[in-house]
Symmetry: C2
Subunit: 215 residues, 2 copies
């Protein structure tokens, strides 16, 4: 198909498609004439994935590129590929050099993960992401105790289990890879949105003058 049809099919403007081609996010089409290229269903699909990653998961294009490069490298196994997506997501945190609150928070996080026996590398960015939150709560004089972290861990593990159950390693590789990335990035957003809706509901029930209801 021509670039105009690719644009119509994918909902991405021709100018943006050309930008993605220049940046190497989208593979070039097959040359059909000196100034024309033909595009395939694979291009439609790739554009939809780029749109999902960039718009819905709020990934900057440089990180979208990192994820797509891993998708296209058949040497990378499913676990490492999922890790690539997870590790690209950020936030990328540099711990402050000499902050005792941070050191305590990192120790508490590492200890909890050890006790849980989770298989997580020492360079997983989510360790620092979690430690930063723990350190900030402590600095605010509202420490997060191990009980709350354990209950979060239990809940997080059960939602993550449902997410990963959707992945069948026997299905075609590219299909599965796209699925894993979309699930990881997008369903996180769905859960955050659902948690805020639940907070609003519970706040309305507890802190307004309405008569109490069963919930």
């Amino acid at each position: 198909m021509k670039i105009s049809e690719l644009s119509r099919r994918s909902g991405v403007s021709v100018a943006t498609i050309k930008y993605y081609l220049r940046e190497g996010l989208l593979p070039k089409g097959e040359a059909t004439a000196a100034t024309q290229a033909g595009y395939s269903e694979a291009h439609v699909r790739r554009l939809r994935l780029i749109r999902a990653l960039a718009e819905a998961a709020d990934l900057p294009l440089a990180r979208v590129k990192g994820v797509l490069d891993a998708v296209d490298d058949p040497e990378i196994g499913l676990h490492r590929l999922l890790g690539t997506a997870l590790y690209e997501l950020g936030p990328r945190i540099t711990p402050p050099a000499d902050d005792p609150e941070w050191r305590r928070a990192e120790e508490a996080t590492d200890r909890l993960l050890d006790e849980l026996g989770w298989k997580v590398t020492s360079r997983a960015p989510a360790r620092l992401h979690l430690a930063r939150t723990v350190a900030t709560m402590a600095r605010l004089g509202r420490p997060v105790g191990p009980e709350l972290l354990r209950s979060y861990a239990e809940t997080a593990h059960s939602t993550a289990r449902r997410d990963l159950e959707q992945i069948d390693p026997d299905r075609p590789r590219e299909d599965n890879v796209e699925h894993a990335i979309a699930m990881t990035l997008l369903l996180e957003q769905a859960f955050v949105a659902m948690r805020r809706l639940a907070q609003e509901d519970l706040s309305a029930r507890r802190f307004t003058a309405d008569p109490p209801e069963e919930c």
Copy 2:
């Protein structure tokens, strides 16, 4: 205390403190001389909250200001204040004008919340946040069914319940308000981080060549 001590106590540079004073994020100190002002424990505490909101929750300063203004307005009740924080968080999403996938996603989200009987206003940004994710998954050919959304809703409600249990409306208002905002913004980050760690653990167990283990 002088601005230099305020800086030392809060860990925020003097230049940044002056910037916050100019922008109205931090109330002015009490004039102690023509060119000097004295600062109090309230300033130390407010700076810590700004730092938590701006750094750990990644809120832009304009939104930090919106939250602080609500904190300082005694007319705003606890539920509306929590709503102000939740509604400031973003992402602020404008639904596309004529997209059938979006319309279906919004209808599915609204129907689910109706069935759950949650007390959530029709303008809650998290409705659109959730609908966007549902629409994107559908566009990728990987629709999110009502069962998954219901299981997310159940999990989200139980974590939100634990979060809100920490809030005691009988405690001093400013204290509770800061606590609610910190809990909402920061613990969301903690849960996202924990979920990514859980995904890495489960992926390691399922998709690597290691012998399977109990988990």
